[in-house]
Each structure stands twice: as structure tokens, then as C-alpha cells.
Symmetry: C2
Subunit: 327 residues, 2 copies
């Protein structure tokens, strides 16, 4: 690999001059500038990131913590993050936490050891140790976080409850997301506000995880417990699809006997049959905006909003009954 | 951050001794060893990866190139990779290539600049420039690659064709994967061997991509072109699900009028209704085994097999007709 010393030698200038030129810091005369440019081109020089990282005390790497990469919501978030940070010249170190607090801490340590320029985290963990690294939280966000990109979970909960209660709901069951994830509470609060206002009876079913592995078993247990439900508000699309599958298996007609709404609008919600109605979260946009915010934060650029709330929308497909005009 | 110099001072030994201790290279006496251990513990010292990387000329990072993280096959591969490399103390830099050759080159350059210890690539690109980094290819593999983990695509193609032709197939359409992906050709060869042996008529439909974005439009175009098909061998599960959805929309019954088989066995294949029959590829295992091979390669450990072929299996669900015993 070509070194900065070789560039300086060929250009006939000092290493310090090449360094100033590369980092755009301090004065470099026009003649020197041209010589350095020519030498860099001739030698096909690309600065070693590790050497630069050690010198500048931060690298061109950004750490991303995800709760579960196998949940199809998060690859889309990662794609948004990656597109944005690439534009700004950064690359991604991935940490897939898998609901393990120790793993989360371990990753943050690894990020720090690699001098990452900043951290994006979609994990709502107990740890607040970011080792002084700039960070932006996304998706699963507490109120006391300074930099965050998230969606309006309360309103999403309202939309889901409105959608089912507009459509002859007499026995609603709400599948509540994991207790330790703040968005679960907000969505539930939105659900309950609407159902209570409209005097619609409901029951709750608590789930422990958003993960895929347990979806089918959960769906079976769920339908065993609530054989007379006519409406399900599911905690996410994976669980909604698992419930749909199990419902059809049991010979219960969707949406006539049981209507179902999910949350997320993953690509597969549209490909299911019947198509899954759901609350759309802009997964790619969450990742992209969070990455943009982090890059601005790192580079001390102007930040108009430190907390960005993105809208959610109701997507109607075949898993909901026809809307009653006079309800 | 604590430095190696501070550890040496507290321990009352030389920096070189601490370095030998940390790298497990050269002699360190018992007394010194104990002093260094105590100092490391007292100072909560963790070696800066960047400094170590510069010194050792390789980092504890591994680069992973994926064709499309939004295709649900690849997050599972990434999960397998991550689980294995974490066990061995490495972390992951992710590169999502998105079918862009320039982006692939750019990522390999970034990996090299960060002194990654090795590269895993599921991208079948035109570039062979790994900048001297150890690498293992996975999933999309050419014959001339030394280190590779892949599945038996030819046999997968045979299994899919056998499955449909065992079940009253009189008009088969094969959806062929992208031309530039070697596995597409191998699967097609497997399909054709079986169909030709059994004298079953077929037509081909060429697709340009495995990506999600175009699946629904492709499915519409596909069914417009082959209104009389009774069996579809799809290029992957995403396309199979898109065809299933469009088929049901058109009032064609699955599997009575049209039976469909996918490829991959993504989690969603099981949750679809009717359940999607498919050829299962062990995505997680591909990632895990490839990472294991790369770690052994990097660390000069014994390698029994440089090219590992993992088995594929036929998964029967409701999207295929009943098997005819006498066919």
C-alpha cells in the first residue's frame, strides 16, 4: 500500500503538507497543492483508514445496533442507514443484539475500540454507555434521548383501533408487544383510547418478543385462548401473518369471522393472501433520516430538529371487513 | 482511554513486555505476567483496536458483501456469519451492493483501507480484486474459487422439477433467475434434466433480478404470458409468493389449477396461505460455515475442506397438488 511519505517524496513536499492537503486543514500553496494532487493520482494513493483513524481519533465507520436482523423490518432500516452514510463517506459496522443486554454492551465496546465516528441504535437496552460516542436512537426511543428518529406509535395505535372498530368489532383482542419496548406501550395506549371512547369490549394478550422464531406457536396459543374473537390487533406483521395462517388452518374465514390488522407494512404484508391490512412505518426512511442526523451531529453541521417524528399510515387490504358507513 | 504505556508504568515493566503479554508473543516471566495482569484489571484496560490494527496490519473486522439485504435470504446469512465471527472475536463491516459493480469495488477498497482480516462475499461480481485479503465466497460461487460455501443448485433444480412432474404437470413454466448469477444456470440445468427425461413440456421465462421491488409487476406480466400454465417453478420464494398472490387475484385455484414451487424456504414461505412448497437452502448455516472457513483461513488453522457444499431439501406444503402414486 502506498504511504503518505511516498506521496510527499514524489511531490517534493513535506509529509505535513500532504497531511494538511488531505485533511483540508491549514494553508497549502497552489503550486504544492498541484504537486500533491499529481503525486496522489500517479501513485493511486488512497489514505489508510486505520492510520487516519488513529491520528484523528475517529474512523470513517459508524456502528449500527439492531435488535434482530431476521425481523424483516430491520434490514430495510439498515438499507436506509447504509445508503445515507455511504453518501457521506462512512461505512457500517453491524451489531445484531438478539435481545441480549450483554451482547449490546459488548458491541458498544467493540465500536469504541474501533473509534467509530458515531452509533445508531434501534435497541432499547438498559445500557446507556455510549463511551462518549455521538449517537442517535431510532425506532425504539425514550423521551429523554436528545437525538432520535421515530414514528408516532400512539397515533399508529389509534389508527389500528379505529380501523377495526369502524368494521363491526364486538370482541377485539389486542396482541401487546414486549413490555420492555416503549413503542408497545404507546401503541397500546392509542388502541385503548379509541376502544374506550367507542365502548368496544377488548381483551389483551401479552407477547414477549417481536422475533420470528416464536410466531407460529404464539399464534396457536393465541387462537386457543380467544376462540370467539372477531378482531385482532396484532403487535407486528410477522405475528399478524402467523395468526392469519393459523386462522385459515382452523377453517375460520378472514375477514368475515375474524379480521386482522398488523403493524409495520413489511414487503410480505402485500404478498400475503388475503392481503394484510397494517399500519405502515417508513422503515427505510427511519434509517436514512437517523443516519443523516448522526452525520450532521458528527460533522457539527446545522441541525434543525434533534428529534424527528415520521408519520405512520393505515394501509387497507383484504384482511379487514368492509367499513360500515353509519358506525 | 487507557494506553499501553499507562499499563506498563503501573505494572513497572516496559511497554514491550506489555505488548508481548497482550499478543502472546515472546517470553514474559511469571512475575511480570502477574504485574501486567493486575495493572490491566485495575485500569480496566482494553486495547485500542485501531492502534493494534495499525501495528498488526490487520484488524478484528471482517467485511461482508451482500447483493441485497432486503431480500430475506441474506439477513439470515448475515446472522449466521455474525454469530460465528463473534465467537472468534471479530466484528462485521457490512456492504450492501445492490447489484452495482462500482459499489462492490468501492466496498472492497473500504474494507482494505480498514485493514479487515478477511472478506466474505455473496456477490457474484465481475471484480476479482480482493486487494490480497483472505476471502471466502458464499452462495453465488464459480468453480475457480478456492474457498467457498454453497449449496447444490443442480440438485435443487432436480428436486423442484421432480416435485411438480410427480403431480400432473402438463404445462410447466420455469421462471429463470438472473443470467449473471451462476446458480440460476445450475438450477435450470437440474430442472431441464428431469423434465426432458420425463418428456414433460415446458416454457422458460427469464427474470433480471432476485430483488423484491419488481416481484409484483413480474408476476402480473408472467401470468399474462402463460394463462394456461398448470405448474410454475419460481426462481425464488419472493417471486413464488408474488405469483401466488396474482394467481389468487385472478380467481385461479392453487394448487388445483396452478401449482407453484419456490426456492430458498424463507420464513415467510411457511406463513403464506396456501403454504409455499419450496427448496430449502440453509441460509443461516451457509453464513455460519463460510465465516468458520474464513476464520480458519485467517488464523492458519487446519482446513479439511476448502469448498463446502451444503444440502438442499424439498419442503412440501399446500401449493403443490397431491402426488400421483403411479406417475
Amino acid at each position: 500500500m502506498v504511504t503518505i511519505k511516498e506521496v510527499a517524496e514524489l511531490a517534493g513536499v513535506s509529509v505535513a503538507t500532504v497531511s494538511r492537503f488531505m485533511n483540508n486543514s491549514g494553508y497549502v500553496g497552489k503550486a504544492s497543492r498541484e504537486k500533491v494532487e499529481r503525486a496522489i493520482k500517479l501513485l493511486d494513493f488512497s489514505p489508510n483508514e486505520v492510520a487516519r483513524s488513529l491520528y484523528q481519533k475517529k474512523s470513517k465507520l459508524i456502528g449500527l445496533l439492531l435488535p434482530d436482523i431476521a425481523n424483516p423490518f430491520f434490514p430495510l432500516v439498515a438499507k436506509g442507514v447504509e445508503d445515507k452514510i455511504n453518501e457521506s463517506g462512512y461505512s457500517l459496522i453491524l451489531g445484531n443484539v438478539q435481545g441480549d443486554v450483554e451482547k449490546e454492551k459488548e458491541y458498544l465496546k467493540i465500536f469504541a475500540q474501533n473509534n467509530v465516528a458515531g452509533v445508531l441504535s434501534a435497541v432499547h437496552g438498559s445500557t446507556k454507555e455510549f463511551h462518549g460516542m455521538p449517537f442517535v436512537l431510532l425506532d425504539r426511543v425514550n423521551e429523554d434521548i436528545e437525538f432520535a428518529v421515530y414514528t408516532d406509535n400512539f397515533h399508529g395505535g389509534e389508527l389500528a383501533a379505529q380501523a377495526v372498530s369502524d368494521r363491526q368489532a364486538k370482541h377485539v383482542v389486542i396482541m401487546v408487544g414486549p413490555k420492555d419496548v416503549p413503542s408497545s406501550h404507546e401503541r397500546l395506549a392509542g388502541n385503548l383510547k379509541v376502544l374506550n371512547e367507542r365502548n368496544i369490549p377488548y381483551q389483551l394478550y401479552q407477547t414477549d418478543t417481536f422475533q420470528f422464531d416464536s410466531a407460529e406457536k404464539t399464534a396457536q396459543h393465541f387462537l386457543d385462548q380467544f376462540p370467539h374473537a372477531d378482531s385482532v390487533i396484532a403487535s407486528n406483521d410477522v405475528y399478524a401473518l402467523a395468526v392469519m395462517k393459523e386462522t385459515v388452518k382452523r377453517g375460520i374465514r378472514i375477514p368475515e369471522e375474524l379480521q386482522i390488522i398488523g403493524y409495520d407494512d413489511m414487503p410480505f404484508a402485500a404478498l400475503a393472501f388475503p392481503g394484510l391490512s397494517t399500519i405502515a412505518q417508513p422503515a427505510y426512511e427511519i434509517g436514512y433520516q437517523a443516519a443523516d442526523l448522526l452525520c450532521r451531529h458528527i460533522e457539527n453541521k446545522i441541525i434543525l430538529k434533534k428529534r424527528i417524528q415520521l408519520p405512520v399510515t393505515l394501509i387497507i387490504r383484504e384482511s379487514l371487513r368492509e367499513k360500515m358507513e353509519n358506525e
